[in-house]
């Protein structure tokens, strides 16, 4: 079937990686609201500054689900320092592109990740190097 999405997006939508929750997560981030059509929740588990596990739950369109799935894949096994540099652009690129009207889904993925990292730093009692950014700020980068 024809679809507005790339093959990779459809693959991550049909077979999303890392769906679920992490009960004893080291960081949890929730972004969006259902009135706007999307909520993304991201869970991370950190050991020795490395993301050893990541999971997500998402209420949203195909692009939102695929973006969450791809974001969790991109960060698993990476050091926190590397993960701090994972942006919406990296998610979009890894997905083989997103339709213009759906770019905000990749933004949500970046925001959910930043929010989970913030939560992690807070729990650790370390001042967070993450500055939460608005959709406009992210898209303007």
């Amino acid at each position: 079937m024809d679809s507005p999405y790339s093959e990779t997006v459809m693959d991550h939508f049909m077979n999303p990686r890392n769906v679920g929750e992490i009960k004893d997560a080291d960081g949890v981030g929730t972004i969006g609201n259902p009135a706007c059509g999307d909520i993304m929740q991201m869970f991370i588990k950190v050991e020795n500054d490395v993301i050893v596990d990541a999971k997500f739950k998402t209420f949203g369109c195909g692009a939102a689900i695929a973006s969450s799935s791809m974001a969790t894949e991109l960060i698993k096994g990476k050091s926190i320092n590397e993960v701090l540099k994972v942006t919406n652009k990296a998610v979009t690129k890894a997905l083989g592109g997103l339709p213009k009207v759906k770019r905000h889904c990749s933004v949500l993925a970046e925001q959910a990740l930043q929010s989970a990292l913030n939560d992690y730093y807070k729990k650790e009692g370390i001042p967070s190097p993450v500055k939460m950014k608005s959709e406009e700020e992210i898209l303007a980068e």
Partner: protein, 387 residues
């Protein structure tokens, strides 16, 4: 396309075989311009006249009361702007309902910019307009009331005859957007007592991009497109001959078959509603249960989002729609669902299934089998859902 099951008939129906056949001569052989006086022009003019009779007869109008347009949206814009401009001396106030198609609401908004006043009247939780609200909204300055015949998303059929009584008693012009009713249920402009009625061929197995407006004899309206003698001077421009001929044939077939079509889709509609309500929890049917288009099923599925449902249905070759074609792209909850009091998250998780004569019980059974799994699968991913 082979194997595709269409539950999106409100957006487009596949033109009937006879419709396509009737159009073919006008692709190549009969090519004159109907405004030309010579033989080739006259042959085409006759074909258009015949289509006008076929369409008129479908809604119990006279042929001179039909103006062909290019879309339901054009018919709606034509009415709102044409009546407003032609009757400016009588008043400047227009009444519409909150659940009109955007082509009515936005046309009204563009008139507001030109200094007209627009009242939007609410609907109840089933999508019904209360005729009493129309009565209250009317002022001495009211020149037009526009209330749709049936809603394109929730399928609710409005009490047009009752509303017409109130409006006509005040000597005010009355328009009804019949795009989802003409060809789907019997429509009689005399019985309804409307002055204007919009319709479009793509909803009754005709071609896309050809439509019309019923204009009651004597009703005052300015053209939207001026500068030609076509359509009795009410709409300039060389005619979409092929499309008009196709709409004529589609109208004639609809006249003959409407009762059979209703019987067919209504059974399927009721079966689909029943199956979904039995098999899936946390769902709600939008629109009125009885005063409802025979082909309309619209459900909110809690905790999940519409586009992802559509995508998974698409993987099963099932076509449906998330409310309206517009909102599915604009990422905004439907104005119709919000007007009937549906919360934005449920509005975002609503799917419109519109049935047609090509659907079978097997189609409905397949959908009823696939849908619960799709809903489960998405709920399992949803942060809002707790089993």
């Amino acid at each position: 396309m082979e194997g595709i099951i269409n539950f999106d008939h409100a957006a487009a129906t596949r033109p009937l075989h006879d419709v396509a056949e009737s159009m073919k001569p006008y692709m190549l052989d009969v090519f004159g311009n109907p405004s030309s006086m010579h033989s080739e022009g006259q042959r085409v003019k006759e074909a258009i006249d015949e289509a006008r009779e076929q369409v008129a007869s479908l809604i119990n109008a006279s042929p001179e009361e039909i103006v062909f347009t290019a879309s339901g949206s054009e018919s709606n814009n034509f009415t709102l702007k044409g009546v407003a401009f032609a009757n400016r001396k009588k008043g400047d106030h227009i009444v519409v309902s909150a659940i009109e198609h955007f082509s009515v609401l936005q046309a009204a908004k563009s008139l507001e910019k030109l200094g007209y006043q627009v009242s939007q009247i609410p609907v109840d939780k089933d999508g019904l307009v209360d005729p009493d609200d129309v009565k209250k909204a009317i002022t001495d300055k009211t020149i037009l009331v526009s209330i749709m015949y049936a809603n394109h998303e929730v399928g609710t059929i409005e009490p047009i005859e009752e509303i017409a009584k109130i409006v006509k008693k005040r000597g005010i012009l009355f328009h009804s957007d019949g795009v989802q009713t003409v060809g789907t249920i019997p429509v009689d402009v005399k019985k309804l007592n409307v002055d204007f009625l919009s319709f479009a061929a793509q909803t009754f197995y005709g071609p896309k991009g050809v439509a019309g407006l019923y204009i009651k004899k004597g009703a005052r309206i300015d053209p939207l497109i001026v500068g030609g003698i076509q359509e009795g001077g009410r709409r300039a421009g060389t005619e979409n001959v092929m499309g008009i001929v196709g709409m004529g044939t589609a109208a004639e077939l609809a006249s003959k078959e409407v009762a059979k079509r209703i019987a067919h889709v209504q059974v399927l509609r009721d079966l689909l509603i029943q199956s979904i309500e039995e098999k899936i929890d946390h769902v709600c049917l939008h629109g009125h249960r009885e005063l409802r288009l025979p082909n309309n099923v619209n459900f909110g599925f809690e905790y999940i989002e519409g586009e992802s449902i559509l995508l998974l249905l698409g993987m099963e070759n099932i076509l449906a729609s998330s409310g309206s074609a517009c909102t599915s792209k604009a990422l905004k909850a439907s104005h119709v669902l919000s007007a009937i009091g549906v919360s934005p998250e449920i509005a975002n998780g609503s799917i419109l299934f519109t049935l047609g004569i090509d659907n079978t019980e097997a189609d409905v059974n397949l959908l009823s089998e696939k849908l619960p799994r799709i809903v489960d699968r998405l709920r399992a991913m949803s942060p809002l859902y707790q089993k």
